[in-house]
Amino acid sequence: MTTFSRRTLLTSSLLLALATGCSVEDSKSSGSGATPPPKTNGSKTDDPASPPKVVAPAEKLAGEVLADGSSTVFPITQAVAEEFMKVHKDVKVSVGIAGTGGGFKRFVAGETDINDSSRAISAKEIEACKKNGIEYLELKVAIDGLSVVVNPKNDWCKALTVAQLKKLWNTGSKLKKWNELDPAWPDAEIRLYGPGSDSGTFDYFTEAINGKAKECRSDYTPSEDDNVLVQGVNGDKNSLGYFGYAYYADNQDKVKLVAIADGDDASQAVLPTDETILSGTYKPLSRPLFIHINLKSLAKPQVAEFVKYYIAQGQDYVKDVHYIQLPENDLKESQQRLTEALSAK
């Protein structure tokens, strides 16, 4: 009995392997022979498996929306996608986290419909778009304030000036101790934590503080995972780090904010709060967050509807995920730009 069962198992599995192999080959040859390439377009509309779908109302959307890019913008796009898919059940939205730069690499190749960006598109990326014949629409969706944080036990560092931050973070900086920043501070080693070089946050911080994107000292602890930075600063009294406001908002008991002064007068320093980030008084570390949309994709009804939803409803979710809603004129500008782009089609 056992022999029989084992034999059948073996033969059946072999047969299965053979059969699948053959059928795929057969269908491939018959497919290329009997069905000429023009049928490719037709096949999408005549779906034999579900005839009722064809009769469905015209407003029923289907298809894919592909978004990729910044991990900072991800929570917003994810929230919009989550709610959007509750309304439009047949639309499949996927949101990737390749980083702003990594996402743009795909965007300029025409692989994605939407890029989540924690900075504006760079000159190099614009050029790549031109080369590939890709036109895009840039929309502001929220505002983020990069937060400089220290350990809660740190009772000396309450404010820093941009000049001090530059002294601390610039390329080749030899600054090692707190008292080198301010003589009144302790003679203890500063340990630095920051995002890795693939991050848009890193690009923005280095440009705002050191004057040029990606210019930064290299002897700090980098991590693409902001929770690692939170843990690092939390576990070390002499540490200092920076990351997006959302990570501060969710870890207020673990790290302490440092006020930042634009210029070199520490008494003018401003703490990042919802209000100061929104009003722009928290300078220079508050930044807009964007989505970039491929105009060709915007012609697809499901993408157009998704972006419309994003701009119309997105602000409600921005607060949910701890970013700061756009000020009214910025939101109006985004709405207007979208309307223009949609009507141009």
């Binding site: 084992r6 269908s27 996608a81 390749a98 902001d226």
Partner: protein
């Protein structure tokens, strides 16, 4: 004669002491691994079963307020039926579970016939020589290649297909008789691209394990079979393969559990995404019968997998997600444990049924 015996006595006691110390050292190293593992499991399980106390923030409201649709513990029934969500207490694991199951199924379909086939060729047919030795060395080296490298290979070979199909790609329509199948070329970030990448990753392991199993079959069995007039095919089919089956199956299942836990190559091919739908829109076993077309569509859908989803959750700012991630880890570990148990059971069953 008595003098040397007396001399040996203190020596003997010392040697026994050394033996005891060595025994304790070995015992200690055994327990070291086990204790660390136990601590890890307990802490993950603890995290998976509790939410952190809600933070009372001055002026903050909304997300911390519990709603009816929020689950009571991270690892709840709802966790298995929900998709990922921006509310940690509503986040679920439905899409990654189906993604991982599809992935493992496809990897098995791809790697088992090819892996076992090449093992049989190398062990039973190929002549000893430089060529075989070259293949053998390469196989052992491939088994040690870091998985990220396979990810890069998968990205160029399957996701982009070397850019052969130009911008936008093409769609190949296959007529399967009962239904038609749209195959996007290149595969892009679909299940099939992920499965092919992981299949490449585990192939060397499968081949080496299958070879070991075939080599363990005593050559007297083959010779006896030939002596009775069996051909080489008959010998392999009726004697060698059945005898080697337990070893092969064990190797295959262990390789599949490795594929199940891999995150790096899938991240390389860009599968780290928020996905709130299942491949082929099959969300439970019943859907397979209701929507059989989903079965052929699924391999070409976008996907996410358990280790990717866990990684995604760990990266989120809200502390609650660490607990959701822990729940995901518990599910992943349970599936892996079940697979390894299956490997043991299968080996046991096949071993019992060996005829000689």
């Amino acid at each position: 004669m008595s003098a040397p015996a007396k001399l040996q006595e203190p020596e003997l006691a010392r040697r026994h002491r050394i033996g005891k110390v060595f025994e304790w050292l070995c015992c200690g190293s055994t327990w070291f691994g086990l204790v660390v593992l136990a601590v890890l499991l307990v802490s993950v399980l603890w995290q998976a079963l509790t939410w952190p106390a809600p933070k009372v923030k001055p002026g903050a409201s909304g997300p911390t307020v519990a709603k009816a649709e929020d689950s009571a513990i991270p690892l709840s029934k709802q966790f298995f039926t929900n998709y990922d969500s921006r509310h940690p207490r509503r986040a679920g694991i439905l899409a990654p579970i189906w993604g991982s199951l599809w992935l493992i199924g496809l990897v098995a379909l791809l790697s088992v016939p090819i892996g076992v086939g090449s093992a049989i060729y190398l062990e039973e047919y190929a002549n000893e020589g430089h060529f075989k030795r070259l293949i053998q060395i390469n196989l052992s080296n491939l088994a040690g290649v870091p998985s990220v490298v396979y990810g890069i290979l998968g990205l160029t070979a399957f996701v982009r297909m070397f850019g052969l199909f130009g911008k936008g790609g093409k769609t190949l329509v296959l007529n399967l008789g009962f239904t038609t199948l749209d195959v996007p070329l290149p595969f892009e970030r679909s299940l099939i691209a992920g499965a092919l990448t992981l299949a490449l990753l585990v192939l060397p392991t499968v081949i080496v394990a299958a070879q070991e199993a075939l080599r363990a079959v005593p050559s007297s069995i083959r010779i006896a079979s030939y002596a009775l007039g069996a051909t080489q095919w008959q010998t392999i089919r009726h004697q060698v393969l059945p005898a080697a089956m337990p070893g092969i199956m064990t190797g295959v299942i262990l390789a599949l559990s490795r594929a199940m836990g891999e995150a790096a190559p899938l991240m390389m091919i860009g599968a780290l995404t928020f996905i709130a739908y299942c491949p082929g829109e099959i969300t439970n076993v019943g859907d397979i019968f209701r929507n059989p077309h989903g079965l052929v569509d699924a391999p070409f859908d976008k996907f996410t997998a358990l280790p990717l989803q866990v990684y995604n959750w760990i990266n989120r700012p809200q502390a609650d997600y660490q607990h959701v991630a822990a729940a995901g880890i518990v599910v992943l570990l349970t599936i892996l444990l079940l697979m390894n148990t299956a490997a043991i059971v299968i080996r046991h069953k096949f071993q019992k049924s060996t005829r000689w």
